[in-house]
C-alpha cells in the first residue's frame, strides 16, 4: 500500500513537467502575442521589442521553459501579463477560494438531490416513477449549461423577478441560488444514475435476500444492508468531482459572472496571459491526480475486498 502511494506520487512531477511543456509549447507557437495585446495593434516596434525583452519573451523556447520550471520550483509562478505586477500565485489563490466555495455548494446540492432520487427510482424499478426520474436524468445530463442557463434566467430573473441573474456575494447570498440551480443539475443527474444502477444491482444480491428472509423490516434492509453497499461506487465519482472542483467551469463562471478561477482563465486566454494559463493547467493537473489517488486509497478502507499490488 505504502509503496503503491509513493509510486503514484513519484509520477506526479513528471506529469507536471510534461503538461507544463505542452502548455508552454502551445502558448508560444499559438497565435496572438501577449505584448501586442498589451500595447495595442499599432504600438511602435521598438516599444514592443523593449517590453518583450523586459519580460524575457525574446529568449529561446527551452531557456524560457527551464527558467519557468526553476522559478516554479521555488514557489514563484511569475507575474500576470494582463494585471501587471500581480503575482500569479496570489491572483489564482483569490479566485480559487470563490470557485471552491461555489462548487462545494453545487456538489452538496447534487448529492442531496441525486441520492434520494436514485434510491426512489431503484425501489420503483420499471414503473412510472422510475421512468420519469430516468427521463429527467438523461435530460439533465444532455442539456449543456449554456442551454439551461438562459431559460432559468428568463423565468426566474427576467420574467418573474424572483432571483438575481448571477454575480457573487459569497455563498450565503441570494445571488448564488440561480447558478447553483443550473449547475447542480448535471452532478445530480450523474448521482441519480449511479445510485439507481448500484441499488438495482445490490438489491438482487443474496445478502439482501437473506436479510429479508430473516424477517427484517424493509427499511432496515434498504438502509443498512443495501444502501451502504450501493453508495461505495459513488465515492469514485464524488472524488473526481472534488478534483474538478478546483478547475471550476470556464463557461459557467463567465455566464453567471462568478469571479472564480474559470472566468480568470477565460480572461487570461483572451489576453494571451500565459503565466496564468500555465499555473491554471498545473493546478488542475495536481488536483486531478491527487483526487484520483485519494479515491483509490480511501476505497481500500471503504471496500476491504480491494487489494493493490
Amino acid at each position: 500500500m505504502f509503496t503503491y502511494v509513493i509510486r503514484r506520487l513519484l509520477w506526479l512531477p513528471f506529469l507536471l513537467l510534461i503538461i507544463a511543456f505542452i502548455t508552454f509549447a502551445l502558448g508560444l507557437y499559438g497565435p496572438g502575442d501577449p505584448v501586442m495585446v498589451m500595447l495595442g495593434q499599432h504600438a511602435n516596434p521598438e516599444a514592443v521589442a523593449r517590453v518583450r525583452h523586459e519580460l524575457g519573451l525574446d529568449r529561446p523556447f527551452l531557456v524560457q521553459y527551464a527558467d519557468y520550471i526553476w522559478k516554479a520550483l521555488h514557489g514563484d509562478l511569475g507575474e500576470s501579463l494582463k494585471y501587471r505586477g500581480q503575482p500569479v500565485g496570489r491572483l489564482l489563490g483569490k479566485r480559487l477560494i470563490v470557485t471552491v466555495q461555489f462548487n462545494a455548494v453545487v456538489i452538496a446540492v447534487g448529492l442531496a438531490v441525486g441520492i434520494p432520487l436514485g434510491i426512489l427510482a431503484a425501489l420503483n424499478h420499471n414503473n412510472l416513477i422510475d421512468y420519469s426520474i430516468v427521463a429527467l436524468t438523461v435530460a439533465g445530463i444532455s442539456l449543456p449549461i449554456f442551454a439551461i442557463a438562459p431559460m432559468a434566467m428568463w423565468f426566474l430573473a427576467a420574467r418573474f423577478h424572483l432571483l438575481p441573474s448571477g454575480g457573487w456575494e459569497g455563498i450565503f447570498s441570494r445571488r448564488i441560488i440561480m447558478p447553483t440551480l443550473v449547475l447542480s443539475i448535471g452532478p445530480a443527474a450523474v448521482f441519480v444514475r449511479q445510485t439507481r444502477a448500484n441499488m438495482l444491482e445490490v438489491l438482487s444480491q443474496e445478502y439482501v435476500r437473506t436479510a429479508r428472509a430473516k424477517g427484517l423490516r424493509e427499511r432496515t434492509v434498504i438502509v443498512i444492508h443495501a444502501l451502504r453497499n450501493a453508495l461505495i461506487p459513488l465515492f469514485t465519482i464524488f472524488g473526481l468531482m472534488l478534483g474538478g472542483l478546483v478547475g471550476g467551469g470556464i463557461i459557467t463562471e463567465s455566464i453567471f459572472g462568478i469571479p472564480g478561477i474559470g472566468s480568470l482563465v477565460w480572461d487570461a486566454f483572451g489576453a494571451r496571459d500565459y503565466p496564468v494559463i500555465m499555473a491554471y493547467t498545473l493546478l488542475v493537473a495536481v488536483a486531478y491526480t491527487l483526487a484520483n489517488l485519494l479515491v483509490d486509497v480511501c476505497y481500500r478502507f471503504i471496500d476491504p475486498r480491494i487489494r493493490y499490488g
Partner: protein
C-alpha cells in the same frame, strides 16, 4: 458444396442475430425515439441546402428581430437572418463535425487501447501515461489551446492550394480545426475502456487456445478479442457522439473554432445570447439550445438501448 452450405448457414445466423438485436433494442421506447431523432438530424444536415428557405448569410435589414411569421417561421435575428435556416444549416455542421470527431477519437482510442492491452510492457506504459496526461489536462482548455494554435496554420496551409480557396471561405478550415481538437481530447477515454476489455479477454481460454494453435496477433485481435469487446465500445461510441455535439457547441459558444457566419448551433446560441431577457428569447435562444440538448439526449438514449440490447442477460 460444403462451403456453400456453410456461408448460407452463416448468413441465416447473422440475420437471426440482427433480428434478435433489433427486438431487444426496440423494447426500449426511449432508444427508438432517440434513433428517430438522430435520423432526423442527419436528414436535416445532409439536405440542408434544399430544406432551408433562405441562405444562412442572407441579411435583410428590413426584417430585423421579427417574431415568427409565415415568411420566417421562427423569426429573424438582429441582422434579419432567418432563424429556421440558420438552425437547419447548423445541423449540417453538427452532422459533419460530430461523426468525424467521434470516428477519429474512437479509432485512435481503439488502436491505442488494443496495442496497450495486447502487447503490455513498455507499449502499455507509454500509451497509458499519455492518456493520463491528457486526462489531467482540463479538457476544454486543451481543446481551446489546440484549436487556437492550429487555426491560422491550417487556414494558410489550405490557402496554398488554390482549388481549396472556397473551402476556407466557407469556414471548412474552422470545422477541420474543431474536429482535430475534439479527437485529440476524445481518445484517452476510449483507450482506457478498450485496454480494460482486452486485459480481461486475453486471460480467457479461447484466446489462449488461439495462441496455442499459432494464430497471428492480428487474427487473435480481430477474430477473438475485438468481437467480444464490442458491446461497451459501441455503447460508448454512441455516447461520445452526444459529447462531441456538446463540445462543438461549447467551443463555438466560447468563440473558438466555428464562428459566424459559418452556421453552428453553439455559435447561434452565443450570437443570440444578448436576447436572454427579451420576449423573443424562446425562439431565438431556447430553441437552438433545446435542439442541442435533444440531439445529445437522443444519442444518450440510443446508448442506453444499445447497452441493454448488447449485454448478455
Amino acid at each position: 458444396m460444403a462451403e456453400l452450405i456453410n456461408t448460407v448457414g452463416e448468413n441465416v445466423e447473422r440475420r437471426w442475430r440482427w433480428q434478435k438485436f433489433w427486438q431487444r433494442f426496440s423494447r426500449n421506447k426511449l432508444a427508438v425515439a432517440g434513433l428517430v431523432l438522430a435520423c432526423l438530424m442527419f436528414f436535416t444536415g445532409i439536405f440542408a441546402p434544399w430544406l432551408a428557405p433562405y441562405s444562412y448569410t442572407e441579411i435583410n435589414l428590413d426584417a430585423v428581430e421579427q417574431m415568427p411569421s409565415l415568411a420566417h417561421p421562427l423569426g429573424t435575428d438582429e441582422l434579419g437572418r432567418d432563424q429556421l435556416s440558420r438552425i437547419i444549416w447548423g445541423a449540417r455542421t453538427a452532422v459533419i463535425v460530430a461523426p468525424t470527431a467521434t470516428f477519429f477519437g474512437v479509432s485512435l482510442g481503439l488502436l491505442f487501447g488494443l496495442l496497450a492491452g495486447y502487447y503490455r510492457g513498455w507499449v502499455e506504459t507509454v500509451i497509458m501515461r499519455l492518456a493520463d496526461i491528457l486526462f489531467a489536462f482540463p479538457g476544454i482548455l486543451l481543446a481551446i489551446l489546440i484549436a487556437a494554435t492550429v487555426q491560422t496554420r491550417i487556414e494558410t496551409w489550405l490557402k496554398g492550394f488554390e482549388a481549396l480557396e472556397g473551402f476556407v471561405k466557407a469556414g471548412f478550415a474552422q470545422v477541420i480545426v474543431v474536429i482535430l481538437a475534439l479527437s485529440a481530447v476524445g481518445w484517452p477515454g476510449m483507450a482506457r475502456l478498450v485496454r480494460g476489455q482486452v486485459l480481461s479477454l486475453r486471460e480467457q481460454q479461447f484466446v489462449e487456445a488461439a495462441w496455442a494453435i499459432g494464430a497471428k496477433p492480428w487474427r487473435v485481435i480481430t477474430r477473438h478479442i475485438l468481437p467480444n469487446a464490442m458491446a461497451p465500445i459501441v455503447v460508448s461510441t454512441s455516447m461520445s457522439m452526444g459529447g462531441a455535439i456538446t463540445a462543438e457547441a461549447g467551443l463555438s459558444f466560447m468563440g473558438i473554432g466555428i464562428r459566424p457566419p459559418t452556421p453552428s448551433w453553439g455559435a447561434l446560441i452565443i450570437d443570440n445570447y444578448s436576447f436572454w431577457r427579451s420576449p423573443a428569447a424562446p425562439v431565438l435562444l431556447w430553441l437552438p439550445a433545446l435542439i442541442v440538448g435533444a440531439t445529445v439526449a437522443a444519442f444518450n438514449f440510443i446508448g442506453d438501448g444499445l447497452n441493454e440490447a448488447l449485454s448478455p442477460d
